[in-house]
C-alpha cells in the first residue's frame, strides 16, 4: 500500500485504455506511454494491461504503509527510496514506512509506478483507466491527491533480488540525435498544404510548447499553410493524429483525444512511436520521419519483439536468482 504525500497535478491510474466504446464518443484514455506501463507490469509479473499510477512531471513523495514490491519505469527523475538512489527502470521491495521521492526529471516526462497485481481500482466499461473528462474509472474518476492510498491487487511478487533489479530499455532519442524522431504517415489533408509547408513539416525540428496535457501536445515551429481553403466536416480522429488549426501550429492528439474533430490533418504518428511523444517535455525538439504502412507494421513488430525479449531476459534473471540467490544477479542490480 502506498500513501500519496505530495503529487503534481494530473497523476492518474491508467491501464492500456478502453476499447470498444469509440462509437459512443468515448476515447481510449489509458497510459500515455503504453510501453513504459507494459514494462512496469512485466517487471512485477503482472498482466501487461494491469493499471499503474501515471505521474506526469515531478516532484512527488509517496510512503509505503506496508512492505511491498513495486516497479518504477519511465522518465529519469532522480528517484530515491528512503534516500537510496534508484535507476530509471527498477523493480524491488520497499520496506514498511519507506519513503519514495521523485525529483526533477532529466529525460522524459512521465513515470509509471506499478504494484503487484496492478492498482486495486474497479473495472468500469472494460478498463481501469481514468477517463478525466467524463470523470469515471481509475481512482474515483479523478486525479490523485495527497492523502490518497493505493493498494496492489496482489500481495506477492516474482522472486526478486534483495537489492532489486534494473534493466536497460531503448532510449527516447536515437544515439547522437538531439531531436526525438517520430515516424509518421501522411494523413488526409497533407497534399493540400503548400509545397513549402509540406517540406517544412517533414524537415523542421518542432518544439514542444507549454500547452501539453493528456489530450494532446501543441508544437511550435514554422507556420504551416494550406493551399486550399474551406472547413472540413466533422470526422473521426485517433491518438497520434497531427492536426493543423488555423494558426498553422500543429497539435498531436494523444491518449485523451476527442473521437471526432474538424481541423486539417497533416500526418499520423505511428502507434509504435506514441510513447516518444508522450515522454517529450516542453522545450524538447521533435522531428517527423515520413514512413508508409509497411514500415509502420514493421515498427510494431519490432516493438513487440523488444517486449518479448525483455520478458525472456527477466524470466532468465528470475530463474538464476531462484537457483543461486542474490549472488547470481548482484551484478545486474
Amino acid at each position: 500500500m502506498i500513501e500519496i504525500l505530495a503529487i503534481p497535478p494530473l497523476a492518474t491510474v491508467q491501464d492500456l485504455g478502453r476499447e470498444g466504446y469509440w462509437s459512443q464518443g468515448l476515447g481510449r484514455a489509458g497510459a500515455m506511454d503504453r510501453r513504459a506501463l507494459a514494462i512496469s507490469n512485466l517487471l512485477l509479473g503482472n498482466a501487461p494491461n494491469a493499471p499503474a499510477l501515471e505521474i506526469p512531471l515531478t516532484p512527488a513523495r509517496l510512503r509505503f504503509t506496508k512492505r511491498t514490491a513495486f516497479a518504477l519505469v519511465g522518465a529519469a527523475c532522480c528517484a530515491r527510496l528512503s534516500g537510496r538512489p534508484l535507476p530509471a527502470v527498477w523493480v524491488g521491495f520497499a520496506e514498511e514506512d519507506a519513503l519514495l521521492e521523485l525529483g526533477s526529471m532529466t529525460t522524459g516526462a512521465l513515470v509509471y509506478l506499478a504494484l503487484p497485481g496492478g492498482m486495486d481500482v474497479p473495472k468500469v466499461l472494460g478498463s481501469h483507466s481514468t477517463q478525466l473528462r467524463e470523470a469515471f474509472g481509475g481512482y474515483d474518476g479523478r486525479v490523485l491527491a495527497p492523502g490518497d492510498i493505493l493498494c496492489g491487487a496482489r500481495r506477492d511478487a516474482l522472486a526478486l533480488p534483495a537489492a532489486g533489479l534494473s534493466i536497460v530499455i531503448p532510449p527516447l532519442r536515437e544515439i547522437g540525435e538531439t531531436a526525438i524522431q517520430l515516424r509518421a504517415l501522411p494523413s488526409a489533408e497533407e497534399p493540400g498544404f503548400t509545397e513549402a509547408s509540406r517540406t517544412e513539416f517533414w524537415s523542421s525540428e518542432w518544439e514542444v510548447s507549454r500547452e501539453v496535457n493528456r489530450m494532446g501536445y501543441r508544437l511550435s515551429g514554422p507556420t504551416l499553410e494550406r493551399a486550399t481553403t474551406g472547413e472540413l466536416r466533422s470526422h473521426g480522429i485517433v491518438p497520434g493524429i497531427v492536426q493543423v488549426p488555423g494558426g498553422g501550429q500543429p497539435i498531436i492528439q494523444l491518449a485523451d483525444s476527442a473521437t471526432m474533430g474538424g481541423y486539417p490533418k497533416i500526418a499520423a504518428v505511428i502507434e509504435a512511436d506514441l510513447w516518444r511523444v508522450a515522454q517529450a517535455r516542453p522545450g524538447d525538439r521533435l522531428r517527423f520521419v515520413r514512413v508508409d504502412l509497411a514500415q509502420a507494421a514493421e515498427a510494431e513488430r519490432k516493438a513487440d519483439n523488444e517486449i518479448d525479449n525483455l520478458r525472456t531476459a527477466l524470466r532468465h534473471a528470475s530463474e538464476l536468482h531462484e537457483k543461486w540467490g542474490d549472488h547470481a544477479v548482484a551484478h545486474r542490480s
Binding site: 470498444g20 459512443q24 473528462r133 494523413s187 505511428i270
Partner: protein
C-alpha cells in the same frame, strides 16, 4: 472511385469520405456503410462522422487499395439505412448564466431573441453522429437563419448540458470541456452514464426536440 477518398488517420485507423451534399439522405448511406463494415473481419469499430466513415482496425492495413475498393463499392451501392430512432424531448433554459451568448446570436443573425428561440425549438433534430466526447450528439436540422460563426476566443471550460450552435450545427455538450461555439441555453440531460447499458443515451438516427421552459434576460 475518384469521387471517394480513403485516408490514413492512424496506424490502425482510416477515414472514408465521398464528394456528396451534407443532408440526411447521404448521412443514411454512411449509416448503412457503418452497419455493414462493422461486420467485416479486421474491423474493430465502424463509426459514422458527418457524411464520412471511420474504421478502427485490428491490424495495420497491408492493402489500403483493396479496403478503398470495398468501401467505394459499398458507397456506390447507394443503400441507405433509415433508422426509426427514439425521440428525446429536452427542456431548455434559454439565456442567463447557462446561455451567455443568446443576445449575441440574436444580434449576429439579425433576429429577436424570441425569434431565435422559436426557430431553434421548431425542428425535430436528427442525431447524425455521436462523438467528440462521450455521448455528444452531432445534430442535423438547424434552421439556416441561425447560422453563426465560431467564437474567436473559445471558452476553455463550458459546463456539461450547454446548448450551443455554430455554422449549421447545434448540440448539447455531454460533459465539461472547451468549446468555440455560441452557447444559448442550458439543459439537464445525462447523455453518457458509464453505469447505464448502453452508456450513451442516444445513437445515430435518434431525434431531439428542444422545449423552452424559461427565458432569462
Amino acid at each position: 472511385m475518384s469521387d471517394t477518398r480513403l485516408s490514413i488517420i492512424g496506424s490502425r485507423a482510416v477515414l472514408f469520405e465521398a464528394n456528396c451534399p451534407f443532408d440526411l439522405d447521404h448521412q443514411q448511406r454512411f449509416w448503412a456503410m457503418a452497419t455493414e463494415a462493422a461486420t467485416w473481419t479486421g474491423v474493430r469499430e465502424a463509426v459514422p462522422g458527418m457524411t464520412n466513415l471511420t474504421l478502427l482496425l485490428d491490424q495495420v492495413p497491408t492493402d489500403l487499395n483493396r479496403l478503398w475498393q470495398a468501401l467505394a463499392a459499398l458507397w456506390h451501392s447507394g443503400r441507405r439505412q433509415e433508422i426509426d430512432g427514439q425521440l428525446l424531448l429536452v427542456d431548455v433554459t434559454f439565456g442567463g448564466a447557462g446561455g451567455p451568448h443568446l443576445a449575441e446570436v440574436a444580434a449576429m443573425t439579425d433576429l429577436s431573441i424570441d425569434k431565435v428561440i422559436n426557430l431553434h425549438t421548431a425542428p425535430e433534430y436528427t442525431v447524425y453522429a455521436v462523438g467528440s466526447h462521450a455521448g455528444y450528439c452531432y445534430l442535423g436540422g438547424l434552421d439556416p437563419r441561425l447560422q453563426t460563426p465560431r467564437r474567436k476566443v473559445p471558452l476553455t471550460r463550458l459546463p456539461g448540458g450547454s446548448l450551443s450552435l455554430a455554422g449549421l450545427q447545434t448540440g448539447v455538450s455531454a460533459s465539461a470541456g472547451p468549446s468555440g461555439w455560441n452557447t444559448i441555453g442550458k439543459a439537464d440531460v445525462v447523455f453518457f452514464d458509464p453505469g447505464r447499458q448502453p452508456a450513451a443515451l442516444l445513437k445515430p438516427g435518434d431525434r431531439i426536440r428542444f422545449r423552452p421552459v424559461e427565458v432569462l434576460a
